[in-house]
């Protein structure tokens, strides 16, 4: 890589880091300040869960979209939800969902 390209990598990295760090530190200062502003704005608390939901929506899209992969996705997510409903944990529902998703893909492949 040329030095100009390295500079582009460093500037992009620093910019991304600042977008992650500065708002975090700003909010921590705000929460601990003595000015009386010690609550997180309501809209920010609402945006957090919605961002997770958006990440879910993006990740639902199969790597290679086809009828089989969409069906496997629907079955896999249903099994994940069912196991989560029973256990209310993070690990087992994910393992069960991936296993069933993989099984459907393998059966269709055979």
């Amino acid at each position: 890589m040329s030095s100009a390209l390295w500079l582009a990598v460093v500037v992009s990295a620093l910019g991304t880091l600042l977008m992650r760090v500065v708002p975090f530190l700003w909010m921590q200062r705000r929460l601990n300040s003595a000015t009386g502003i010690n609550n997180m704005p309501q809209w920010l608390g609402i945006l957090g869960p919605l961002m997770i939901a958006a990440v879910l929506g993006v990740s639902i899209m199969p790597v290679n979209p086809s009828a089989v992969s969409w069906i496997a996705t629907a079955i896999g997510l249903s099994v994940t939800l069912l196991v989560w409903w029973k256990l209310r944990s993070l690990g087992w529902p994910v393992a069960a969902g991936v296993a069933v998703f993989g099984l459907v893909q393998v059966i269709a492949y055979i």
Partner: protein
């Protein structure tokens, strides 16, 4: 002694590592792909690894190498990379109240990706306060390390791996929607939240389906927020 062991930062970090393992189902295939794409675009294995280590933001890395390979001006490459990553601005403030103050945050926040944020926002409130710092360090370092190693493996042996196990690259990424589903499901607490979350999920899926994956997360979250504020369900009152 036992009390000391229970509050060891290393123990908390290992807990974070263990709980971040499902994230790897998404990180490994995507980092392998990035390594492969980067070498095909003319970058060496070490250069691809440096991009993964320094920028560490999936979608923008693909855009970065793609635009460089296409000969785009570097100022535009930087602007587009930062524009895609601007969604990270809202992640930190959401975690600020959940994490203790530390002089290490300026470099530790480098590990705050979409997936680490989602996991942290779900798990941190359930953990005792003294465990949270170690947990975040463990979870974020595992994700970062795997992302870099995956890039290096993808750059050197990506083509061989994807040719030998074609299904692996399709099955492993399913760990991500499965994980995020278990994080979102407990938040369907009432009709208002159910509608806003459903609207966000469907909007994000549609944006991705129609090729807008780079801006899908902030746009879909904005759709959900509009839905949350616009629609208010009235509770029925029984007249005596």
């Amino acid at each position: 002694m036992n009390h000391f062991a229970n509050h060891s930062p290393i123990r908390h970090a290992f807990k974070g590592v263990r709980e971040a393992i499902p994230l790897l189902g998404g990180y490994i295939p995507v980092s392998l792909s990035f390594g492969l794409v980067a070498t095909q675009a003319g970058f060496s294995m070490w250069e691809a690894a440096a991009i993964s280590a320094l920028i560490y933001a999936g979608a923008s890395q693909f855009l970065f190498v793609g635009m460089v390979a296409a000969g785009s001006p570097l100022w535009l490459v930087i602007a587009m990379t930062l524009l895609i990553n601007v969604r990270h601005v809202v992640y930190g403030p959401n975690l600020a109240a959940l994490l203790p103050r530390s002089r290490h945050w300026p470099w530790l926040m480098h590990g705050l990706t979409d997936q680490v944020f989602a996991l942290a926002l779900t798990r941190l409130p359930q953990l005792p306060a003294p465990e949270r710092f170690g947990w975040f360090v463990g979870a974020s370092l595992l994700a970062w390390g795997v992302w870099i190693i995956g890039t290096m493996v993808g750059a050197t042996a990506g083509e061989t791996l994807t040719a030998r196990w074609p299904l692996l690259g399709e099955v492993m990424p399913f760990a991500l929607p499965a994980l995020f589903l278990t994080m979102v499901a407990p938040r369907f607490t009432d009709k208002r939240w159910a509608l806003a979350l459903s609207c966000t999920i469907i909007a994000a899926l549609l944006f991705t389906f129609f090729g807008w994956s780079n801006v899908a997360i902030p746009l879909a979250a904005a759709c959900g927020a509009i839905c949350f504020y616009m629609v208010k369900f009235q509770t029925r009152r029984c007249n005596p």
